[in-house]
Subunit: 122 residues, 2 copies
DNA sequence: GCGTAACGACTACATCCGTGATCGTTGAGG
DNA sequence: CCTCAACGATCACGGATGTAGTCGTTACGC
């Protein structure tokens, strides 16, 4: 477990996080507008995700229904940690400081984060 | 430009961000303790970074001196944006919210971020 | 019943990445 | 001078990734 999920694979996961269970065909339909993949490509990706135990499938007659096994929360967490570790010495505040310096924070962001932190502290 | 820098390549960049210019040999020496790469491996990575225009080299007699061309700031920025875009719909506050929920923020982090934001707002 | 369309399984193949070995040249020490 | 060690350049190679084609089976429409 804990295999890395590639970017293409993530697109498939997003679809399943949105709606599950789905057949391979349905995943392909949902993903097509953005990526324009063939059905075969989607099936390959689903197969790889199965091997990585990131999705599960159950039989539904002649075909499979896929559903996520890895939760979006856990995935987002892993990826965030990796970034913070690789670039900011494992500390979160330098990341926020960085984004702040780059003017990547809207007033709304600032307000939201402040509210969050206030809640945390109490 | 704007080619993706792989993880191994980043290790080389870190070395050059710390100290430059350096010869391939010197980079290998600095990187060896952590990764244990052969000199050849380091040369290959430097070559790929050259092709990606992430480093520059100038001749120094029979060998080259390498120095970063891509700045660490810019790299960190790109990677951070990619993460925020891919996982949090391009907004920073959900990322912070996520880390907060996961108890990834120390009291010190919270204090630092609050100070940062206060400075930003005024 | 029979053809065919839909499925999953397997195969393919170019590119990138991690890791390194080999080759050709050349400067420096004896 | 001649050898050899240091360099850069080029090639290698297995695994991951992006993208898709082919093969064998089977349920359903006519």
């Amino acid at each position: 477990m804990a295999e890395r999920i590639s970017e293409a694979e993530q697109a498939v996961m997003e679809t399943l996080w949105n709606e599950a269970p789905l057949t391979a065909q349905e995943v392909a339909d949902r993903v097509a507008p953005d990526r324009g993949w063939s059905l075969n490509t989607v099936k390959t990706l689903l197969g790889r995700l199965l091997a990585k135990e990131a999705v599960a499938h159950e039989e539904d007659g002649r075909r499979y229904l896929y559903r996520p096994r890895l939760e979006r929360e856990a995935f987002a967490h892993g990826e965030s940690r990796r970034l913070v570790d690789r670039l900011f010495g494992g500390r979160v505040s330098p990341l926020v400081a960085h984004l702040a310096e780059r003017d990547e924070l809207s007033d709304q962001d600032i307000a939201e984060i402040e509210a969050l932190l206030k809640a945390l502290r109490s």
